[in-house]
């Protein structure tokens, strides 16, 4: 993975000093609340319901065991012994003290970590496929381009105060696991007809209040121009994006208002004056960064002893759900589920973090990845070692065999932590997990994504969940609206609301009815989303609201 040199380190150290100064000026009343706000946000610091929340960047979801151990120490020392992995592959601490934040950042800097641009109206953490570099369906490893974009976007002077936040996602696989179409800029790297690395560029996607999938702005951009082209997009957005209304300030609204053709015309005009300029990248820079992501020392191990253990049912369930094929024969990638019903989805305790760091050291070259589904991944595990790993991870409750299944719920912090929430989301997730805790039944139901957001800001990506749950406020009480048919990946789509919303008590029963309806209509091994596409919403509506009955 990428390692800091003196330059990277000095930038991060200087940032710690800068932030410390800003906080001191704020505490001394030399900065007003309003003036301090954008500064603290660009350092990942929110002021939340109970305490500040600090969001730490995990660039494109990649962590070393040293870093994860440090995060564990920080959760013990400055927080309540746990952290929350987010859908943007970052980690959040819910209980730090404001005065401690400079010290936390200082400690993070010792392991090449920071909270730069994890919030606020700037270019955020670049996200990508959690299986980059190891998945057999990959065409080009997106990590080195992600790192190049990370460096370029860090403290980019022109884009330091955008109309609104700006998220970039990049994938290099035929199967998109980074939801590039739901980002301000989405990038898909591919190999063009001359076998040159090229990039398809989407712009103007995003969820939130106004869910919109991105539009293609460039079918085939040479990798050399990735930074200058992004600069042109961002300049047009920076100048013309709305700043008078924060709900209309995302680039998606601008693209929609102008139309993609007009928007593209403006971008191309801007690009003409900077194309081939100094920020054009060349092969030497690609190679320099690429070297950090070279293959680890894989063993040649064609045989494996997995057969010995297939009679162990829990192990084989885990094997089928939580391990993934690998480009190197003899290896698999492992997802450690953070979705047991005993914790909030995406939460990990300090002990769990240390255990995962140690497993990474023993079995996966000391590296860990965070997925946008809020789980942790060990990317390079020898098949021979899977059983051993499983036994150790089980002790830490990290082997719930539910990855990709109904209880692998993507969930925002919701009303328990977030001051913007209409409704709680974690207890909803836990009650659904409790209801579907029979692993056999869960495996029979098969692949399905359930996403929960506590309000229309959509941090839990409910629009692209096969089942989406959205917290809504009705006369001051908490209700939940249900959408069906959302999807991520290459066939991304936005789910449709099925009807009036439900109370917290009704909700588990409703999910049960939806699942039974699916089981009743499903063809053979058909998965939920395909069934919904085939039969439409009507059968589900009838199951939930009753037939043709007038809704009161």
């Amino acid at each position: 993975m990428y390692k800091y040199d003196l330059l990277d380190q000095s930038l991060v150290d200087e940032r710690v000093a800068q932030y410390k100064g800003q906080l001191t000026r704020f505490l001394n009343k030399e900065l007003t609340e309003e003036e301090f706000r954008p500064l603290r946000l660009q350092n990942g610091l929110y002021i939340q319901r109970h305490a500040p929340m600090l969001r730490v960047a995990v660039p494109y979801g990649l962590l070393s065991s040293t870093q994860l151990n440090k995060l564990a120490d920080i959760s013990d020392k400055y927080d309540r012994g746990y952290g929350h992995f987010s859908t943007r592959q970052n980690i959040q601490f819910n209980w730090p003290k404001l005065e401690d934040t400079p010290q936390i950042l200082k400690e993070l800097a010792t392991v090449e970590m920071h909270a730069i641009q994890t919030s606020g109206n700037c270019i955020r953490n670049i996200t990508t496929d959690q299986f980059s570099g190891v998945t057999p369906d990959e065409i080009i490893d997106p990590r080195y381009l992600a790192e190049i974009i990370r460096q370029w976007s860090t403290f980019h002077p022109e884009f330091a105060l955008l109309p609104r936040k700006f998220k970039i996602a990049i994938t290099g696989s035929s199967r998109d696991r980074a939801i590039v179409q739901a980002h301000d800029i989405g990038l898909e790297i591919f190999s063009d007809k001359d076998n040159e690395m090229a990039i398809k560029v989407w712009v103007g996607g995003g969820l939130g209040r106004t869910p919109i999938l991105g539009s293609v702005i460039k079918e085939n951009l040479s990798w050399k121009h990735i930074l200058t082209y992004s600069e042109a997009i961002l300049r047009v957005y920076n100048l013309y994006g709305r700043r008078d209304n924060m709900y209309k300030a995302r680039i998606k609204i601008l693209v929609k208002a102008l139309g993609i053709e007009k928007f593209k015309e403006l971008v191309e005009r801007e690009w003409a004056s900077i194309k081939d300029g100094p920020n054009t990248i060349d092969i030497s820079e690609i190679n320099r960064i690429k070297a950090f992501f070279s293959e680890p020392n894989y063993k040649n191990n064609k045989q494996n002893d997995l057969k010995k253990h297939v009679t162990n049912k829990s192990f084989s369930q885990w094997l089928s759900r939580c391990t993934h094929s690998h480009k190197k024969e003899g290896y698999r990638s492992v997802t450690l589920s953070l979705k047991s019903n005993k914790q909030a989805p995406g939460d990990a305790t300090a002990d769990q973090m240390r255990a995962v760091a140690s497993l990474a050291d023993q079995y996966s070259f000391g590296e860990i990845r965070v997925s946008h589904e809020q789980n942790l991944i060990l990317a390079d595990v020898l098949e021979d070692k899977l059983y051993e790993l499983w036994e150790k991870a089980k002790v830490q409750k990290l082997t719930t065999p539910n990855v990709g299944l109904l209880t692998d719920i993507i969930c925002c912090p919701g009303g328990d932590f977030c001051s913007l929430a209409n409704a709680k989301s974690i207890p909803i997730a836990n009650s659904i997990q409790d209801l579907f805790d029979d692993m056999d039944y869960l495996h029979d139901i098969g692949e399905i994504n359930l996403n929960i957001s506590g309000c229309m800001n959509a941090c839990g990506h409910h629009h692209v969940g096969h089942i989406g749950i959205l917290g809504v406020d009705k006369d001051g009480s908490e209700w939940y609206q249900l959408t069906l048919g959302g999807n991520q990946g290459n066939f991304a789509s936005i789910g449709k609301v099925i009807g009036p919303s439900f109370s917290e008590e009704e909700l588990p029963g409703v999910i049960k009815k939806i699942i039974s309806t699916f089981i009743k209509h499903r063809h053979l091994d058909e998965i939920f989303i395909d069934c919904v596409s085939r039969i439409g919403l009507q059968p589900f509506k009838e199951a939930v609201y009753g037939k043709k009955e007038k809704k009161t």
């Binding site: 000095s10 030399e30 976007s153 403290f155 022109e158 105060l161 700043r243 008078d244 100094p278």
Partner: protein, 200 residues
């Protein structure tokens, strides 16, 4: 009273007088979606009446609103050649909308851009465009809600002159210019990205 003006790296006295137009009779709100882009946000521009009624001193160095400058350009030839005339623009004004009406922007010794609110980052793109696309070489000044924590970015976006908001200490703000030693990306002040100029 000490000065609020930073040019390059020091606090200096301000030789210029900033000229403000009179307030408009009524807020001019433009419709969304018309030809000029900034109208999307409904931000007003100067009315002809405001332009005609703007008064400024007959001698000495003055910074005129762009609209006022264009209106008087012909009569000001003499003063322009004496380097007495600068202009200022708002962040929602489009450079393209006036640049062709000015013979040569490098005849202007000063261009100022006013940022009304700290969080308005359009000023950075404007600096970049003036310097790199329109090749403006003289003093480029940030005015308005200009505070310490913008300075590093403003400098990198081509500004070399900063009028710090009246209630803040310019000496303190000066420190902001050096928040970071070697940034990653090429911008206006240092055009080459770090990887091209130092061995990494």
């Amino acid at each position: 009273m000490s000065s609020q003006l930073i040019i390059n790296n020091s606090i200096v006295d301000d030789e210029w007088q900033l000229v403000m137009p009179p307030k408009a009779d009524e807020e001019v709100k433009k419709q969304a979606g018309k030809v000029v882009m900034f109208k999307l946000t409904g931000e007003g521009s100067l009315t002809n009446e405001q332009i005609e009624n703007t008064i400024f001193s007959k001698n000495g160095k003055v910074i005129l609103p762009v609209g006022v400058f264009l209106h008087h350009q012909k009569d000001l030839k003499n003063r322009i050649s004496k380097q007495e005339i600068g202009i200022w623009m708002e962040t929602h004004e489009e450079i393209d909308s006036f640049i062709n009406e000015i013979n040569d922007i490098n005849l202007l010794p000063l261009i100022s851009v006013r940022v009304k609110k700290f969080a308005d980052g359009r000023i950075f793109s404007i600096g970049n465009l003036l310097r790199l696309k329109y090749k403006y070489k003289n003093e480029l000044r940030a005015i308005g809600d200009v505070l310490r924590d913008q300075l590093f970015f403003l400098k990198r976006s081509g500004f070399n002159s900063f009028h710090i908001r009246e209630d803040r200490d310019a000496k303190d703000a000066l420190l902001g210019l050096n928040d970071f030693t070697t940034p990653y990306q090429g911008a206006v002040d240092q055009k080459q990205p770090a990887w091209k100029i130092i061995k990494r």
